[in-house]
Structures are given as structure tokens and as C-alpha cells.
Amino acid sequence: MWKEVLSLAEKKGQAVPIDFIVGLFIFLVLLAYFFILWDIYSIRYFETAKSRDRDIASLSITDALVNSPGHPENWAQDPLNAQAIGLCSRPNELSSEKIAAFSSIPYANAKQMLGIDEEFFVKIETSEGARYASIGVEANNSSTILEVSRVALLNNTIVNVRVQLYEN
């Protein structure tokens, strides 16, 4: 009788090995797949998020420059105390006075007024390449540059306002 009891006790609670091993194997494969995907997509996600932040910044800067008079509206008379920079007198009509005032603002202050962390460079030129103004610091070739171009009028001439954002 004791032998039977001991024999049962030995068998009791033993896992079914094939079911268990196959289940564990599938689980581990899926877990590994999950971690690999997580790693790939988290890197991609952060890159995409960063790129989108720069897209938003570039779009909002070009919008402000081309469609807004800035704040206060007569900020060009006292550029260092401007709260927001805008280069136009009316939507899509640039003001030479405001462009000159924007050029005169120190680079660090201009970055702060535009509300960006990246470096910037603004070019105002015709489609033939005649340049009216260059504001900011031009990127070197090694930088990844995001450029957004908008169209406006300057003294009744069509010009492109090109805003470049980049990181050093």
C-alpha cells in the first residue's frame, strides 16, 4: 500500500511536457517578436515625432512670417521688444521695414521670438534667385535641413520665403 501511495505522489503534479514545451516555445517566440518590433517601432516613432515637431515648427513659422503682422503690429519700430515676429502688412504682402527689422534682431533673440530650439535660416528671394534678404545662420552641408517655402509679394514682386530648420 505504501508503495502505491509513494508512486502516486511521485506522479502527482507533473506537467505534460509536449503541451507545455510547445506552448512555452510559441510564447517565447511571440515575446521575442514583440520585443524586436517594440525596439524597431520605438526608434521609428521617436524619429517620426521629432520630424513632425520640426514640420509643425516650420509651418507655424512660415505662417507667422507670411500671414501675420507680428505682435505688436508696429514691432518693427522697437524690434528687441517684439513679442511675435510677422513680416507682412497684409496677408501675403511683405513689408520691407519689417524684413529689415527682423534682420537687425540678434540671432538668439530671433530664435526665442520664433519659439524654436532648432537653428534657422530665412531666405527671401525671387524664383530666379535674386535674394532680398537672408536672416539667421545658414546650415552647413552636413546638417539635416528641413525647408518650407511660401509665396508672398514684396513691393508687388512675387518672392519665395524659404525657412530652413536644422540641428547642429
Binding site: 505534460v16 503541451d19 507545455f20 506552448g23 510559441i26 510564447f27 511571440l30 515575446l31 517578436y33 514583440f34 518590433l37 517594440w38 517601432y41 521609428r44 516613432y45 517620426t48 520630424s51 513632425r52 514640420d55 509643425i56 509651418l59 512660415t62 505662417d63 507670411v66 496677408p91 501675403n92 504682402e93 524664383s127 518650407v148 517655402s149 511660401r150 509665396v151 508672398a152 509679394l153 508687388n156 512675387i158
Partner: protein, 142 residues
């Protein structure tokens, strides 16, 4: 014996279900993340800028198709194609009546992603509104 391993099977099924659900969610979200909505916004801004500049220069109200074509080509970047349709209405007896449709620019390609923007403008004559027009611009990347 029939119920042997039954509890473990439910556990495993539930775990597998959750894991597959998480995987599908990650793949779905990452696929969505690849589509940038800012291309759309940027194209619309380009279209609005172009129509605004052409309106302010009096090109849209000129009715001169060759002038409109050359202005459109010189204003837009070469990588962007555009087609513009201007519907004009004349003001008479307290209402607007359809007058004409003017079209210029390139033909819209059949299988390209297109972006549409519009601008309203009026033509004045003797200090009064004579015509009311709607310019509808269709843009695409070449």
C-alpha cells in the same frame, strides 16, 4: 482525463489573444504614424498663397488665360502641378447669375493624390461689385 490541461489551455489562449492584440495595435499605430498630415497642410498653404498673390496682382480678375498660365508656372515650384478653375457670376437684380468658367494650368493626373483649395474674389466697376468669382485650385506633386 478529458479535462486534463483545460485550465492551462484557457490561460494560454488568453495570453496569446492579448499578445496578438498588442502586436496588431503596434503595427496599426506605426503604419498610421508613417502617413504625415503635414504634406497635406503644406500643399494647401502653397495653393492659398498662390491664389492670394495672383488675386492681389490682379491676374485672376484679368481673364487673360495666357497671363494666368505664365503667372501660375512662375509662382509654383516645379515639383508641383496645378489646375485652376474660376467660376464667375455677374451681379444683376439683387442676385448672382452664372456667367462663365475659365480654366488654366495642367491637366489633373488620374492617379495622383490631389489637394484642393479655393479663394473668392470680386471685380468692381464704378465702385460697385460687378462680378463675383470662385477660384478652385487643384494641386498635386509631380
Amino acid at each position: 482525463m478529458r479535462t486534463k490541461g483545460f485550465v492551462f489551455t484557457i490561460d494560454a489562449t488568453l495570453a496569446l489573444f492579448l499578445m496578438v492584440l498588442v502586436l496588431i495595435t503596434i503595427i496599426f499605430l506605426s503604419a498610421q504614424a508613417d502617413e504625415s498630415p503635414y504634406v497635406n497642410l503644406h500643399m494647401l498653404r502653397i495653393g492659398k498663397d498662390t491664389l492670394s498673390v495672383m488675386d492681389k496682382q490682379g491676374i485672376l480678375t484679368s481673364g487673360n488665360v495666357s497671363l494666368m498660365n505664365s503667372s501660375l508656372n512662375s509662382t509654383l515650384q516645379r515639383s508641383i502641378g496645378a489646375h485652376v478653375e474660376i467660376s464667375t457670376y455677374y451681379y444683376d437684380e439683387g442676385g448672382f447669375n452664372f456667367m462663365s468658367i475659365t480654366q488654366f494650368g495642367s491637366n489633373i493626373p488620374a492617379n495622383a493624390s490631389i489637394y484642393v483649395t479655393s479663394r473668392d474674389f470680386v471685380a468692381m466697376s464704378n465702385g460697385r461689385i460687378s462680378n463675383y468669382s470662385i477660384a478652385r485650385m487643384t494641386l498635386w506633386q509631380k
